[in-house]
Symmetry: C2
Subunit: 136 residues, 2 copies
Amino acid sequence: MAKMTNRIKALFEKVPTAILATATVDGTPNAVPIGAKKIIDDETILISDQFFNKTLENLMANPKVAVTWWEGHEGYQIKGTAIVETTGKRFEDTARWMEERSAKAGFPLKSKGAVIIHVDGIYGVSPGPGAGKKLV
Amino acid sequence: MAKMTNRIKALFEKVPTAILATATVDGTPNAVPIGAKKIIDDETILISDQFFNKTLENLMANPKVAVTWWEGHEGYQIKGTAIVETTGKRFEDTARWMEERSAKAGFPLKSKGAVIIHVDGIYGVSPGPGAGKKLV
């Protein structure tokens, strides 16, 4: 159990892009930039899948993820556990959110799934001797 | 064997920050932003380690890495294999490069190691139906 602070959540919402890292079960990492992201609550973030390829393949076999974001010299990494929902209320809400959001941006996108990530731990990734230290 | 094109190399050199993703042997990913990076040749990149913590622990146990960078809607991901050198010519060159580079930036940093990454494959991470496709 790890709860994101208001500052950590605010930076996640503010940055245009975060990184979603997954891995094969035998430890080959994969890291992709993602923009369609939101905070659900202090322990949960949501990423909408439009174009996931290897990421989705990895998530099907191994739910462990890292999500990293930063701005200037402030940055955070969440270690978490993901589930992918392609039916139900959370998926339908995500699909509607993406439809509205992407229409507004003039670049229509369709969600294929809601990646719901439970936060297991939070680490600093700011440069300096504290890099990598567990924060929460 | 995968060779980076001039365009791929140029974007790597241009972006201020790339992502280095590693994983434990049992597949928990870790992703951190890195700035001290350079191209060695078409199949090799170098990252200087100043503050690696979990990244270094992972690299010691599992050499598989992903390195991702992007600008706007153009982005690339390398899958590669890393070795960490803490003695010898490449490490000494890296230490000198970091010393000069960080002194110039007014933020003195000391390299603890040279992470030399052999490029095994190159993938697109631009949004769109081609996301994740192998390029080289």
